[in-house]
C-alpha cells in the first residue's frame, strides 16, 4: 500500500515537472551550474560518480532526473528545491550530462586489465 502511494506520487510529480519543461537545455550553462552548485562534489566533475552514483554518460530521462533532485531518496543527496535550482537550470545540467561521451571500453585500457 505504501509502495503504491509512493508510485502514484512519483507519477504525478514527474507529470508536473514534465509539464513545466518547455525548452531544451544549454550544455555550457549546464556545466557551469553543475560545478558551481556543488553537484560535482559528490558525482564527480564529469558526473562519473564518486561518493554518489554516476550521472553520466547516458543520464536517466530529464523528468526522472528533476524529480529525484526535488525529492531524493533518503541519502546524503541534498534536496534542491526550485528556490535553489530552477527546472530550467536542472534541464541545463541534464543537457550537460547528456553531452558527456562514453568512456573508453575497459578492454582498451591496459591499466584496468592487470
Amino acid at each position: 500500500m505504501k509502495l503504491l502511494a509512493v508510485a502514484i506520487f512519483s507519477v504525478v510529480l514527474v507529470a508536473q515537472v514534465s509539464a513545466q519543461q518547455t525548452s531544451p537545455g544549454n550544455v555550457e550553462k549546464g556545466k557551469q551550474i553543475f560545478l558551481k552548485d556543488g553537484c560535482y562534489s559528490c558525482h564527480g566533475y564529469d558526473g562519473h560518480g564518486g561518493v554518489a552514483p554516476k550521472l553520466a554518460p547516458r543520464p536517466i530521462p530529464t523528468v526522472a532526473f528533476i524529480a529525484i533532485v526535488r525529492h531524493p531518496p533518503a541519502s546524503a543527496m541534498p534536496t534542491y528545491s526550485p528556490k535553489v535550482m530552477s527546472d530550467a537550470e536542472l534541464t541545463d545540467v541534464w543537457t550537460y550530462l547528456k553531452s558527456i561521451p562514453d568512456p573508453p571500453p575497459v578492454k582498451n585500457i591496459p591499466l584496468l586489465n592487470q
Binding site: 558551481k36 552548485d37 556543488g38 560535482y40 562534489s41 559528490c42 564527480g44 566533475y45 564529469d46 562519473h48 560518480g49 564518486g50 561518493v51 554516476k54 531524493p72 533518503a74 541519502s75 546524503a76 543527496m77 541534498p78 534536496t79 534542491y80 528545491s81 528556490k83 535553489v84 535550482m85 568512456p103 573508453p104 571500453p105 575497459v106 585500457i109 591499466l111 584496468l112 586489465n113 592487470q114
Partner: protein
C-alpha cells in the same frame, strides 16, 4: 648543595669519569635481549666529608636519573623515540643521545607533538609494538592530544612520556611554572588506557613495564607516563634499582562454551556473513580469517580498519547483509551502524532507524572491546544488541572457533558449503568487473579521478614488496578495489578517531617501520591533512625514510564542501557559497614546492592524466635510492 674537595676543572678526573661512564653504558644489559629482571644503574658516589675551606660546588652529574629511565626503556626493545624537543624532557633527551648512543631508541626529530604521536601510531600498526613519544608537559601534551585520541580510537599501542616538574621549588623560570601541572596526564586520561606519575626511579621502572604491558594487551591503546623533571635530572640516589621483567599478557580468548555455540550457529547458517573490523593484529590474523572463511565458505566484508583479508580472494567482499541469516562480527566496533540506517542528512529530524538485516538475522560478536570501555568520549557507539556476545580478542579466539566449526561439518554439509562458495566466487568476479567498469568512467578527466591515479600507481608497485600506509577511504577505496592486497603490512587502515592530521605523520611512522625490511612504502596523502603539520615531511627527509607520497589534492576540506552544500540546500539558500571556509584555493597550494622547502623532492602539480605515469616512474627511482618523494596530483573530490 652538593660539594666535593676535588677541583671542578680536574681534566684527568673528568676523562677518567667519562671513560668509566662509557664503560658502564656499554655494560648495561638490554632486557630487550634477555627479557628478565635486571639490576642496573648504580647510585651516584656519595660526596666525602670535607672541611669548610675545601668545599667546592659539584657542577656535574655523571649519573642522572634519566640514565636509569633509559635503561628501562631499552630493556623493552624500544627502537625509536619521537620528540619535538621539550625542556621538561631535556635530561632524558640527553641520556638517549649520549648515554644510550642514540640507538634503540634512536631520537627522531619532530616538528610538532601531533606528528610525534602520529608517527608512533603508524609505526605500531606496521611493527606491532610501540615506540615512545616524549612530549613537553602541558603544552606538548595539548599538542599531542589529538594524535593520542586517534591512537586510542584505533586501538593502537603507544607510550607517551610527559615531562613535568612537579616540585614547585625546582621550577627555574616562569615558563616552567606555566608548563607544569599538578596532574599532567589528566587532559588525556579520557583516551588513554592507563597513566602514572612515578615518584621514584624504581617506581618509574615498574610503571614503564606495566605501561608497556597494558598498551600491548588487547584491546591495545596508548598509555602515558609522567617523567618528573627532578627525577630525570638529579643524581641516582636509590640503591638496588632493578628493572622488572615483562610478562606479556596472553590475549584473552573467548569462552569455550560460547565458541561451541557460535560454531554450531555458523555451520548451520544458510547465508552467513563475516565482518572484520580491527581483527588482524599480526600476519597470522589474516591466515586465520582465510581459514575460517574457507571452512564455512562464507563471505568476508572487511571494514578495512586493518588488513584482514586478501582483496582478490573469491570470498572477499561479496557478503550481502540484507540477505544474511547470520552475521559474525570480529572486532567490529559499531555493529549498530552496520545493521541499521539512521536518517540521512537530506531528511529533517531523526526517523526511527531502518533495520538493514532481516528481522530474524542472528548476530554474533567476538571482541576484546567487551572488556574495556571508557565513558566520556563516545567512540563506543550505540549499544550492540547481539544474540551472542563473546568477550575475547578476535584473532586469539579464531583458532578455537575454526576447530569447533571443522568438527561440526559433515561430508553432506561440506558439499552444500562448497556450492555456496562457488556462487560467492562468481559474485566476487562480478564485483571486480563492476569495479573496472566504474574505474573507466572519467578516465581522461581533469582533475584526475582517484580511480585513474590508483590504476596508474599499481603497475609501478605491484612487483615491489609494497606497503600502502595511507587510508584509501577518501580515495573512494580505489586501491582496495583495484590492487591485490594479501599481506599484513600492505594496509593499515585509518586514523581511528577521524581526527584530521593523522595521515602524514602516521605514514612517515609506518614507512620508518617498513624501512628495515626494505619495503616500498606508498602514501596517499590528503591535502587538508598535510596542512596540519607538514613539518613531518622534513622529518622523513632528515631521517632518510624512503616513501612515495601521492597527494590527493582536491584543493579543499572536501567532506565539508559536501556538508555545507547540503546545509545550504536544506535551508533553500545559496549553494554556490559552500566553498567559503572549505576550499583551499586562491591561491592553490603548491605541494611539490612545499616538499622542496622541506628538502624533499617534489613533482607536480599534475593535472593531465597522461603526465601521471612519467612522474611515477621518476618517483619510484627516487624512493629506490632511499629518499622520500612527493607527487602532487590534483584530484577530484573523491
Amino acid at each position: 648543595m652538593a660539594t666535593s674537595d676535588k677541583s671542578p676543572v680536574d681534566r684527568r678526573g673528568f676523562l677518567k669519569g667519562a671513560a668509566a661512564s662509557a664503560a658502564m653504558a656499554a655494560q648495561v644489559p638490554l632486557a630487550a635481549q634477555v627479557r628478565s629482571a635486571v639490576p642496573v644503574a648504580k647510585p651516584a658516589e656519595p660526596a666525602p666529608e670535607t672541611t669548610a675551606s675545601s668545599r667546592v660546588e659539584v657542577l656535574t652529574n655523571e649519573r642522572p636519573g634519566s640514565d636509569f629511565m633509559l635503561d628501562v626503556i631499552k630493556s623493552l626493545g624500544i627502537e625509536y623515540a619521537t620528540a619535538n624537543p621539550a625542556s621538561s624532557c631535556r635530561a632524558l633527551h640527553e641520556s638517549i643521545i649520549n648515554y644510550g648512543g642514540n640507538k634503540n631508541p634512536e631520537l627522531l626529530t619532530c616538528c610538532h607533538e601531533e606528528s610525534s604521536v602520529g608517527m608512533a601510531h603508524g609505526y605500531a600498526k606496521i611493527e606491532g609494538k610501540p615506540i615512545i613519544s616524549m612530549v613537553h608537559g602541558t603544552v606538548g601534551t595539548q599538542h599531542a592530544s589529538m594524535a593520542i585520541y586517534n591512537a586510542f580510537c584505533d586501538r593502537v599501542p603507544a607510550i607517551v612520556i610527559l615531562g613535568n616538574e612537579l616540585d614547585a621549588t625546582a621550577r627555574r623560570s616562569f615558563v616552567e611554572w606555566t608548563h607544569a601541572a599538578q596532574d599532567a596526564a589528566v587532559i588525556i586520561r579520557d583516551f588513554t588506557k592507563w597513566d602514572d606519575a612515578p615518584g621514584s626511579l624504581q617506581h618509574f621502572a615498574e610503571s614503564f613495564v606495566r605501561a608497556y604491558k597494558i598498551a600491548m594487551t588487547p584491546p591495545m591503546g596508548p598509555v602515558a607516563l609522567v617523567a618528573n623533571g627532578k627525577l630525570q635530572e638529579e643524581p641516582i640516589e636509590e640503591s638496588n634499582l632493578r628493572i622488572p621483567k615483562l610478562n606479556a599478557t596472553s590475549p584473552p580468548q573467548g569462552d569455550s562454551g560460547a565458541i561451541a555455540e557460535a560454531a554450531k550457529q555458523l555451520v548451520n547458517a544458510e547465508n552467513p556473513v563475516i565482518v572484520a573490523g580491527r581483527l588482524a593484529r599480526t600476519p597470522n590474523g589474516i591466515k586465520l580469517l582465510v581459514e575460517l572463511a574457507e571452512t564455512l565458505q562464507a563471505p568476508v566484508n572487511d571494514q578495512r580498519n586493518r588488513m584482514n583479508f586478501p582483496t582478490r580472494h573469491p570470498l572477499y567482499g561479496a557478503g550481502d547483509i540484507a540477505k544474511a541469516d547470520m552475521i559474525l562480527c570480529l572486532e567490529v566496533e559499531d555493529i549498530y551502524m552496520l545493521t541499521h540506517r539512521v536518517s540521512p542528512l537530506n531528511r529533517i529530524g531523526m526517523d526511527a532507524p531502518k533495520l538493514l538485516t532481516k528481522e530474524n538475522t542472528k548476530l554474533i560478536s567476538i571482541s576484546s572491546l567487551e572488556l574495556f570501555q571508557k565513558s566520556n568520549y563516545q567512540d563506543f557507539a550505540r549499544y550492540n544488541e547481539v544474540d551472542l556476545a563473546i568477550a575475547g580478542d578476535g584473532e586469539a579466539t579464531l583458532p578455537a572457533l575454526i576447530d569447533a566449526c571443522k568438527r561440526l561439518i559433515t561430508a553432506d554439509r561440506k558439499r552444500t558449503l562448497q556450492d555456496r562458495g562457488a556462487k560467492l566466487a562468481e559474485a566476487h568476479k562480478r564485483m571486480e568487473e563492476q569495479n573496472r567498469l566504474q574505474a573507466a568512467l572519467g578516465w581522461d578527466s581533469s582533475p584526475l579521478t582517484p580511480a585513474r591515479v590508483s590504476a596508474e600507481l599499481w603497475p609501478h608497485i605491484k612487483d615491489e614488496d609494497w606497503s600502502l600506509v595511507g587510508n584509501d577511504m577518501f580515495f573512494s577505496r580505489w586501491p582496495t578495489r583495484l590492487w591485490n592486497f594479501d599481506k599484513h603490512y600492505q594496509y593499515i587502515g585509518g586514523s581511528g578517531g577521524e581526527g584530521v592530521g593523522y595521515g602524514a605523520p602516521a605514514a612517515v611512522g609506518a614507512a620508518l617501520a617498513n624501512k628495515k625490511y626494505g619495503r616500498f612504502t606508498v602514501n596517499l596523502q590528503n591535502d587538508g591533512d598535510l596542512n596540519y603539520a607538514p613539518g613531518v615531511l622534513w622529518t622523513a627527509v632528515h631521517h632518510k625514510i624512503p616513501m612515495l607520497t601521492v597527494m590527493h589534492n582536491n584543493r579543499g576540506y572536501h567532506q565539508e564542501v559536501m556538508f555545507v552544500t547540503t546545509m545550504a540546500a536544506r535551508a533553500n539558500r545559496d549553494v554556490t557559497r559552500a566553498g567559503i571556509g572549505t576550499k583551499l584555493t586562491e591561491p592553490n597550494i603548491d605541494y611539490a614546492t612545499m616538499a622542496k622547502g622541506y628538502g624533499m623532492q617534489g613533482i607536480g602539480p599534475i593535472t593531465d592524466p597522461n603526465d601521471i605515469a612519467p612522474a611515477l616512474k621518476r618517483a619510484v627511482e627516487i624512493v629506490k635510492s632511499g629518499e622520500p618523494v612527493l607527487i602532487d596530483t590534483v584530484t577530484q573530490g573523491r
